[in-house]
Symmetry: C2
Subunit: 207 residues, 2 copies
């Protein structure tokens, strides 16, 4: 839990983050130099100047390094869950409205460095195994969002649906937006469209 | 959807399907006997009484056998695309309404044998790599649905959104439904909810 006035990060945690960051940067370099499939964990560990054992203390496998940022995004969701609680959502629309600011926060965080975000997307798109892992991560985010709603008192069946629609908005934005810079705006637009789905367009003559 | 008066299937195609079916059944048996990760392509080929070369003529890898049925589901979508064309959808709601019968057809097909469907789900749930492949297949289905709408004249940005929401409905149903028998009904209910998202509940006093 991060409190509003963040406590100083202990030295051991600062060191941990630095090592993790070094591994991620080493992997990024190697992936762009040689391609993802031509790089081994041993290569990454060597470039980052750590042992293989250290590598595996931080990442389960080579793929996980690609999704290192994802852990931070999950932390964003967890923090949001703890800070403001508007209580239970009574309808799917309310549940979706509760998820909107959280997903937009995630988008902002994911694209703080738009070039890095786009590089990440290109890498994932290029490798079937990374696309699979990415799709799975997205489903994991939906589970976390759903659990957040349930903890606020929302009925589970409603929460599951709202989380899946929130994910659909995010995926739509990823497919529509040409760049990392527009991801948050596109996601906001997709939420607007979802929340207006049942409304008949006012000025359309039907029939 | 098969055409009303189905043309006779040529002998060579009938033989092809039989071999494919034998491979799928051999794999199913082996997976339940030993677990997915303890079975090799060589094992499957031997049990199906075909060579490894034949195996790879039908499936790209061991994972693909698990998703053999998926090819049929994609064929269902393609057939739907060709048979009835209500034309371009002007709103996201209309696009979603166009996708609904197609996705429900897919659900029906996927669960014609509910026990086999549930066995498939349990297998996929159990292995991270299969969950990843499954999530990817779902995204692939969304792409196909989106392309179908675009071929009917629907704007691409609208089509992408509707396809993602349709997928969200299907995923919601998978998460909600305890059995293969209820998948289609749960998916129908989720579409209803999506298409009513923007409607305020009539009897709620707000503020």
């Amino acid at each position: 839990m991060t409190s509003p006035t963040a406590a100083p990060v202990p030295l051991v945690e600062r060191k941990r983050r630095l090592v993790q960051q070094r591994i991620v940067e080493a992997a990024d370099e190697l992936f762009s130099e040689r391609g993802f499939d031509q790089v081994s964990v041993t290569d990454i560990a060597a470039r980052a100047d750590v042992g293989r054992t250290t590598f595996f203390r931080y990442f389960g496998d080579k793929q996980e390094v690609v999704f290192a940022k994802e852990q931070q995004l999950l932390a964003t969701i967890t923090a949001a869950a703890q800070q403001d609680s508007p209580g239970a959502a009574g309808t799917a629309g309310e549940a979706l409205e509760q998820l909107r600011p959280i997903v937009l926060d995630v988008c902002e965080q994911a694209t703080t460095d738009p070039e890095a975000y786009e590089r990440h997307c290109r890498l994932v798109d290029h490798y079937l195994e990374l696309r699979g892992r990415d799709a799975l991560k997205m489903q994991h985010i939906a589970v976390i969002l759903s659990e957040l709603l349930v903890r606020r008192g929302t009925e589970a069946t409603l929460a599951v649906f709202a989380a899946q629609v929130a994910l659909a908005c995010y995926q739509t934005a990823r497919l529509r937006s040409g760049s990392g810079r527009s991801l948050t705006d596109e996601t906001r637009a997709a939420f607007d469209e979802a929340l207006a789905l049942g409304q008949r367009p006012a000025a359309t003559g039907r029939g």
